[in-house]
Amino acid sequence: MLHIINFAHGAALMMALYGVYFLHQKAGLDPYLSLPVMVPAMFAGGYALYRFVVARASHGKDENILLVTLGIAIVLENAALTLWKSDTRTIETGYTFTTVAIGPAMIALPKLVAFGGAALVAALLLAMMRGTDLGRAIRACARERHGARLVGIDVEHVFAMSFGIGLACLGAAACFLLPAYYVNPQVGSGFVLIAFTIVVLGGMGSFAGALLGGLLIGVVESIGGLYLGESLGQIGIFLIFIAVLLFRPQGLFGARA
């Protein structure tokens, strides 16, 4: 939305997954019940990270944000490697292998919950962007940073808030993801480029675009995997990413050229 390209997104997701994992192992908290812990914690972490590190280091240049978040990603990934070793960990819950029949399709319950959760989070975000002062402020900063400052918006605060909200979403994603997924120190890096691709494809700053982009990427990944094999199949995502950046940088649904 604000053209902050955050390389540490994957690493932050990885940390959130570890958070959910340890809440489950040490405190016996169900992944879905750790939502009220993870979301505020990730929000606070994101807000602080932006305020005290990213904003100070960026000197107002896009490339610096990219480099700084890359540095943060390297630190987080290797800190996780040092602390928790490179083992892949999963959790067992009572419903990990439960499936639900919807018409002719059998769907794993955790995946269904994750789908519902993602839709809910997206709806909440959309409502926030449309209906609250913060949402309006974020949109104002995205469109015209100096103008926003002139009418009295605390631009740095708004940027930090949206960074925090982005990470809070990751906290939620981690809670929904872990019952059906796994965690290891490298788990995030696979998500980073996919997330960029989805956002670029849908159009920067467009929520509906991000949702549709996500669906499209999922389909491309599955079809690519089916016809080209597991490892060559991923190439489709990157080719789409390159093509969209080159030929349609405003995205499929982006408003502005």
Binding site: E63, I74, E77, V200, F238, L245
Partner: protein
């Protein structure tokens, strides 16, 4: 001229290193530092002098490495003969990526992301086609002897990588003192005013990425001779791309000596921490990452910026 004399003095000093010590450990550190410096110099041409930050320099490195490995292992070429082929391929890949992304006006972070995506595409391709040895990788036959660009002792490798780095230094010096270098730096400082003054922005950026790609490919050729092995993650993985940008940023962007200074600091620091906490994997990378953040935060002009 004074700078050329400094370059000559540096070359002579490093070349004499094997006369002072025959310690394989010390020479290996020197070789790996020079190798990182070479990657950094190549990256610095495009980012430091040209203002185009690439996050996917592995694409050039891997192309050079695979050019050497495939031509040697599959076609029995002499290693020296693969060098011009690798340089040409590195430049060609640079030309391809540059032509596409500069033609469509990608700047800043978008250019960085597109280079990263290209590196991933090449990695997946290398993983899946037959002649690169796919996921297994390629082994190159060990044939010690200067005629084969391979050596029984570290001193030979040190002199080869030193020669590459000196070429990198001379290229950087040339960029500081030539008309082309002035154009490139004008594009970095303000693309629109450079264009208004009659600089062909597209051509200048394209030449920079090709030059940078060729020099990075040279590092790939050296890597294959030194380790006699390459696989898709080593060649096109993000580690090389990160290594290429760390040195210049820490040493000083757009300077002649920045990449070497940064690579030296990083490698000495890496060795020191490895000695202290060898039991923990990844600690030296934590320090690299933290250093990257701190440098951008407090010393955006690098260590050299302190002196000037």
């Amino acid at each position: 001229m004074r700078q050329l004399a400094t370059i000559a003095a540096f070359a002579a000093a490093v070349a004499l290193l094997p006369a002072l010590t025959s310690s394989g450990v010390v020479l290996n550190i020197a070789i790996m530092t020079l190798y990182a410096a070479l990657l950094g110099q190549a990256w610095n041409i495009l980012a430091g002098f040209g203002g185009q930050f690439s996050f996917g320099h592995a694409v050039f490195f891997g192309t050079g490495a695979y050019a050497a490995a495939v031509l040697q292992a599959r076609f029995g070429w002499n290693a020296w003969a693969t060098l011009p082929a690798a340089l040409a391929l590195g430049a060609a890949v640079g030309g391809l990526i540059g032509a596409l992304s500069f033609r469509y006006g990608l700047r800043g972070s978008y250019f960085a992301l597109v280079t990263l995506a290209f590196a991933e595409v090449f990695r997946i391709l290398a993983n899946n086609v037959e002649f690169t040895g796919a996921g297994v990788g390629l082994m190159v036959k060990l044939q010690p002897g200067a005629a084969h660009l391979q050596f029984a002792d570290k001193a030979g490798y040190l002199h080869v990588i030193l020669a590459f780095v000196v070429v990198g230094l001379l290229v950087s010096w040339w960029l500081k003192h030539s008309r082309y270098g002035a154009w490139l730096q004008a594009v970095r400082d303000n693309e629109d005013s450079a264009a208004a003054l009659g600089v062909n922005v597209f051509a200048v950026k394209l030449q920079a990425i090709m030059l940078s790609g060729a020099l990075t490919a040279a590092a790939g050729v050296f890597y294959v001779q030194y380790f006699q092995y390459i696989d898709p993650s080593l060649a096109y993985g993000p580690a090389v791309s990160v290594e290429a940008l760390l040195g210049p940023i820490i040493g000083g962007l757009g300077t002649i000596w920045g990449p070497i200074l940064g690579a030296t600091v990083l490698h000495l620091l890496g060795e020191a921490t490895r000695g202290l906490v060898s039991s923990l994997p990844g600690v030296n990378l934590i320090i690299y990452g933290a250093l990257l953040v701190l440098m951008i935060m407090f010393l955006p002009r690098g260590i050299i910026g302190l002196v000037k």
